[in-house]
């Protein structure tokens, strides 16, 4: 393994509060030195990072790779390549595969299949057997096999008692529980946010209250049980407020938000003429919600940005709106979309170091993952970013098997140019190595 020497870059490491120019020497998969004025070893591969930004490898804690079971939509190989292309060195993957990831064998399967691929894959286990919300899955055995957290994502845990026991039990094995907050009765049959736009379009809506009611319940349960509850894809102003209050009360709750909820609203369903790539759960909400999500992200009510990468085959989405599956693919768009928000200055106080924190140290802390920082001795997972790179979202060029994005054609400023995983260059100038 050749050493890698990254010279002249601006290093942003929120975990150690470091933001300065320095050189980095990587050896045997480990960051050996981070100093100014280092000399490269003669056998090192030198990356000239002058004018570029070097960050800890980005971590996406909410990803669906459909493997096993729906490999025609995505698999671990294509998904990790998409991750590397998008600047991510690690992804945490949800258990809604076929069969469901509710058993240690499934955790082993993921680690084995991901070994040597373009990004690290951390499996999340199912919270309940078969994602059925009835019986707790073997959380401890899965944890011992390497599961980094537990979630029935895609489905809410309807029975409050089951959620109570799962949270309580998980607190005993020091594992986070990730909740997809949705009252399935209030949201029944909904295909978009319930409001003026759904009324005009004649589409069945999911009210904000469906998310907020379940979130409020889970926060009350958390008060009862202790443990760590992580809220997946927060989408409403009311949810932001609930999480803010819970944090103020001292509850161990964290939250994430997706780029699509930060950038889009339900109006796009109408303006795109019922484009099924706008169909996602939780749904795109209103401008008021969008503003509240930004406020929550800026004041750290919302800890992290996660893509909720939900890949689908183009045929699955090329149908009538009600018949299309929910989901937006985000691994190859998240970083450029967010960099463009920084570049444009549209959101005051949304600085580059803050963005880096939301994609590195914050997600690492939520799932207790290694990485998320650049310092001597840490794993050599790094992302190098060109803030001035012009980037156009074109799903036809993706490494993902999916094409489902509502951002097609968007012109952005800022993109990843290197993704280094475990001391190996996995992506260079947008090209993922074989």
């Amino acid at each position: 393994m050749k050493p890698i020497f990254i010279t002249g870059g601006r290093i942003i490491d929120p975990a150690s509060n470091f933001d300065d120019n320095a050189d980095i020497l990587i050896n045997e998969g480990i960051v050996e030195k981070v100093e100014k004025g280092l000399k490269p070893p003669s056998d090192a591969e030198v990356i000239d990072a002058a004018g570029l930004v070097v960050t800890p490898g980005l971590i996406d804690i909410h990803v669906h790779l459909r493997d096993p079971g729906q490999e025609y939509k995505e698999d671990i190989k294509s998904g990790t390549r998409a991750a590397a292309a998008g600047g991510f060195t690690a992804v945490a993957v949800m258990a809604n595969t076929e069969p469901v990831g509710d058993d240690p064998s499934m955790i082993h399967y993921t680690y084995e299949k991901a070994a040597g691929e373009a990004a690290r894959v951390y499996p999340l286990g199912a919270l309940t057997k078969g994602l059925e919300g009835k019986e707790m899955a073997e959380l401890g055995r899965m944890k011992n096999a390497g599961a980094v957290g537990f979630s029935d994502d895609g489905r809410p845990v309807v029975n409050g008692s089951i959620m109570r026991n799962a949270l309580h039990y998980a607190s005993g094995i020091n594992a986070p529980v990730i909740a997809h907050e949705e009252d399935p009765y209030l949201a029944a049959g909904g295909v978009m946010h319930e409001g003026a736009v759904s009324s005009v379009l004649g589409l069945k809506g999911m009210p904000s209250a469906a998310e907020e009611a379940m979130l409020a319940r889970d926060l009350l349960i958390l008060k009862l049980t202790g443990g760590h509850l992580h809220i997946a894809h927060v989408s409403t102003a009311g949810s932001v407020e609930l999480v803010r209050e819970a944090k103020a009360e001292g509850l161990n709750v964290t939250a994430e938000v997706t780029p699509h909820h930060l950038l889009l609203t339900d109006r796009l369903v109408k303006n795109s003429g019922y484009n099924t790539n706008t169909k996602v759960n939780p749904p795109l909400r209103t401008e008021l919600d969008r503003q509240a999500l930004w406020a929550g992200l800026l004041d750290d009510t919302i800890d992290a940005i996660a893509s909720d990468h939900a890949p689908h085959h183009p045929d699955d989405k090329d149908v009538e709106y009600d018949f299309a599956p929910f989901g937006i693919a985000g691994l190859e768009t998240t970083l450029p979309l967010m960099l463009d928000e920084v570049a444009s200055g549209r959101i005051k106080k949304f600085t580059l170091p803050l963005l880096v924190k939301k994609l590195t140290s914050a997600p690492a802390r939520i799932l207790n993952l290694p990485g998320g920082t650049i310092k001597a001795g840490s794993p050599a997972d790094l992302t190098i970013i060109d803030l001035k790179r012009e980037f156009i979202i074109n799903p036809e060029t993706w490494y993902s098997k999916s094409r489902n994005t509502p951002f097609t054609g968007k012109r952005l400023t800022g993109a990843p140019v290197y993704t280094i995983v475990d001391g190996l260059i996995k992506m260079k100038e947008g090209v993922v190595s074989e």
Partner: protein, 309 residues
Amino acid sequence: MQTLRRKDILGLEEISAEEINLILETARSMREIMQRKIKKVPTLRGRSVLNLFYEPSTRTKASFELAQKYMSADSVSVAGTSSSLVKGETLKDTVRNVEIMGIECVIMRHPVSGSSHYLAKNVEASVINAGDGMHEHPTQGLLDMFTIWEKKGRLEKLKIAIVGDIRHSRVARSNLWGLQKMGAEVVVVGPPTLMPPDLAVFGVKHFVDIEEAVENADVVMALRLQKERQESGLFPSMREYAELYGVTAQRITRAKDDLLIMHPGPINRGIEISSELADSPQSVVLEQAASGVAIRMALLYLLLGGIKE
């Protein structure tokens, strides 16, 4: 004669008052053809139309088919149960296969809102929405407006009360957009659970009391109530609905004397509207059905840009 400068008719929300006027004026001359002994003109000879009905329909389907026959268009009709929808073929594949056979215009009814938009994006043929989910039913809206316009001589400044399940009604949505564009005042009446969320977006006022809503009204339009709405818990029973929201002679005493009673059909007699009223001289329910043919002839003519007789 003018034509419509658009490929499709998907909803009245996006159609201008000027276009609606053109359609109504054209429908008037089409109605004249219908009154002839030999109801056939060669206008659309050699033009091909597909009627694609993924939901059951009696009058809309009959009305489109008659309009095509009176205009001498060639047409084929494909109905839901016999269609390829049940065979698992996608809508896009179905229509592209028929389009390649020479179809220039597709009339579609479909249970999913927005499906006519989806179709219009995927075919070169003109698409006329014959009802898509809860979204719109533009030809019904136009025929309702035509019926009122013929009876009252105008739409402007009329007061129209629409009663019933606005929330799930594509007929209501098309009428709300169309009538208000033409300068009419529209109010809606019904239980709150049958009103669309954020009703204000439609620019209409909601009443729960029919008698109050129909004060000085020129038209009362009752909507069809589906049994499944009660089953999904939106109101307790059909008889309670009839007692609170049914349109009866006693409830419309504060309306204008020349009030018109309308219903898009099929009527649940004694539920949405009393039989007595449905059959009264004020009722224009049958005229609505006749207007439907004229409106659909007009749209086919305007969209296919018929060659002058």
